[in-house]
């Protein structure tokens, strides 16, 4: 951390000049030492930036959208998963290098990856509803843990290294004992799923999960009460559980209009919980909650974000954020806009968790 300002999330603000990319990005993470940040999305590549120099390079990537990304907790090894089910391991420091190993793309969409704190095990979850444990050094399969009835949207390793949780489309969160593969308990996050009588699809799901640093709390993000399966407008919602008992401790909301899921959550060093998600056709906000109040104590306006990570030094957050690069919205008779019609892009926003430096006059 270069800035001398004291940590204070109530003064959180975005760093200037976010990194930009001309395609949408879905996930963004810091490496374990913070020297690299990586992001993935719809262009199939792995994008890596050196934090100090902002130098950008790519790794050769996937055959389709990359939907999951996690760094090894002790090395610059990077794991990525895609919508065809393939998982690759990379040395993120080696520009253009091929994967260290690949877990075959013989399953549905890999939506979530996590690594245990000791770096020994890689966890994956996806549309085939099975949580899997892999050897993080070799990619060898170690265990399959069936139990979900639908797509697994998120996985998180507990700080004790012995347990993990997985959350699915239907709001079911399962706590697993990794050594045995047994279910320890379930957390009721069904409020994050909606299926009304006239829907033709299930909506919502556990879009993100994070443990408090001491492992006593589990926060699950998504949205509730979707009004349709078309626009899918709902109410962003965070459920915080006691990890030891599975009991729900609190529900957190935005307190302002935003219609999409909370896609990223991170506990900060003082127990503050930060969250960020999506909103249709307009800005939303990065929010900060104290767990004793249902609404945030601080908000920072921004566009929709799809992930959230905390720098290893605990002083900044990172998120891939939507950026329109041309005309959006509905079509029709827009031939005059044809040359300007391009795919949206992304920005990587860094949010500093301390006061902005005073502007010199």
């Amino acid at each position: 951390m270069a800035d001398a300002s004291p940590y204070d999330p109530s003064k959180a603000h975005f760093a200037p000049e976010p990194l930009a990319h001309d395609r949408q990005l879905i996930r963004a993470r810091y490496s374990s030492d913070g020297s690299l940040l990586a992001a993935v999305g719809v262009d199939k590549l792995i994008h890596v930036w050196e934090s100090a120099t902002r130098r950008h390079y790519t790794l050769p990537g996937h055959a389709t959208w990359v939907s999951a990304l996690v760094f090894h907790p002790k090395t610059p090894r990077l794991f990525t998963g895609d919508f065809h089910g393939a998982v690759h391991a990379w040395d993120a420091t080696k520009e253009g290098a091929p994967p260290l190993f690949t877990i075959a793309a013989d399953r549905d969409n890999t939506r979530a990856l996590a690594v245990t704190p000791d770096g020994a095990h890689l966890l994956s979850g996806g549309d085939d509803a099975i949580v899997r444990i892999w050897n993080a050094d070799s990619g060898a399969p170690m265990r399959e843990m069936p139990g979900h009835a639908g797509p697994v949207f998120s996985v998180a390793a507990h700080p004790d290294g012995k347990h993990a949780v997985s959350g699915d489309l239907f709001g079911r969160v399962i706590q697993w004992e990794l050594g045995s593969g047994k279910v320890v308990r379930e957390f009721d996050a069904k409020a994050l799923h909606t299926r009304k009588e006239d829907f033709i699809a299930d909506v919502g799901g556990v879009r993100c999960m994070t443990f408090s640093p001491d492992g006593t709390l589990l926060a699950c993000g998504g949205f509730s009460n979707a009004e349709s399966n078309a626009f899918c407008p709902g109410t962003p919602l965070v459920l915080v559980f006691d990890n030891a008992t599975g009991a729900k401790k609190t529900e957190l909301r935005y307190g302002f209009k935003s219609d999409g899921p909370v896609n990223g959550l991170r506990f900060l060093q003082d127990g503050t919980l930060a969250g960020w998600g999506e909103h249709q056709n307009g800005p939303t906000q990065l929010v900060f909650w104290k767990l004793d109040a249902p609404e945030p104590f601080h908000k920072v306006a921004a566009n929709s974000a799809y992930d959230l990570d905390l720098h290893p030094d605990g002083t900044r957050l990172l998120a891939p954020v939507f950026k329109a690069l041309g005309p959006g919205g509905n079509g029709a008779l827009r031939k005059e806009l044809r040359e300007k019609y391009v795919a949206p892009g992304a920005q990587l926003f860094v949010c500093n968790l301390f006061a902005a430096p005073a502007v010199q006059k």
Partner: protein, 409 residues
Amino acid sequence: MLGGLLAAGAAGLPGLMQRGIAEEMRKRGKQVCFIWLDGGISQFESWDPKPDSPFAGPFRSIPTSVPGVHVSELMPHTAKLMDRISLIRSMSTKDPNHSTGVARIQRGDPINRGVDYPFLGAAVSKLLGAPENGLPPYVSIKPGNGGFIWQEAGFLGSKFGALALGDGKPPIHIRRPDDLSAESDTARNTLRRLADARFKSGRRESEVDAWESSFDMAEKLMARKDLFDESRLRPEDVQRYGTHPLGRHLLLARHLLEAGVQFVKVTSYHWDSHGDHFNTARQMVPAIDQPFAALVSDLEASGLLKDVVVVLMSEFGRTPGINSRFGRDHWPDAWSLAITGGGVARGRIIGKTTPDGAWVAEAPCDVGDLFHTIFSALGLDSKKAKYRNQGQPLPIAHEQCKPIADLLA
């Protein structure tokens, strides 16, 4: 004759009809099954995947039974039948709004002459003439409420409206109460008709026509309660079509077509995926793929496909660009639909979009061209046939459009 055939069906042939029966039934004339995915199915996630486009979604593109033609991996069943259907990949229409676009498309978007054109079902019923088989000619299967939708008749007059079966259920009171004798029921209806006639005398067409039509249709359906007897459904058919609403409704559509209903519209709502498009498409597109493929297969196996035009479409497609909620918005500029049966050629791919899938590159088709093609496939001369609305001759489809020659067998 028809009664005997239907009795045979009820007795032991509730599934695929024997080919001979189909031959007999075909004498009833042409029919249409019009499947409407309200809100707009994405062409990228169905008929026109562009895996190398910057606008591509995450799903695979898979080969079909037509060499060189690929569709989304979300449509594996239909992919195997691609040689038995045709696609238009170059639909380009004008209206980006649901509120106006649905009616505009289902009316064929003719030149505006200040009159309400009929929806396709009403048009077919008028132009072909309703078959004399004791069944309502235009039946609409839809989620939600049923009833008689006279508004779809446009200037043809309300009797050409659609009998809507809410959630595929028969109209309520389709069964005559036990304490009402057949004689009393007949006498009651006679009195009603006399009252209607007196009310109408000296008046121009009124909503009474719609009420009369709905009563007439109710009477017809009361004689055909067997069509809604779910105990007749073969479990293997239910599994093949799917137990979700689209599956159940398309299976009912097949039964209604087999029974002789001239025009069956099946509507599915909530395809307007502005948010969470890729999570919902993964559930929704397979939900139409499976029963659509089953329907086409069954109609072909029974021989009915020769005379039943099947259309699967929406009011527009979805944007190439992906919005902030990972949704796709409305895109009438370049979209796709599927069509088969009747006089429609099979295994044809009409038109082409640009490599990125955003725009029509070859053979743009308006919905007017589609209406000309459907009418032609039903044996009508769409360029010559005319409606007469209070003496005014009106073209049955946009006169600046024409049948898609490559799509006609």
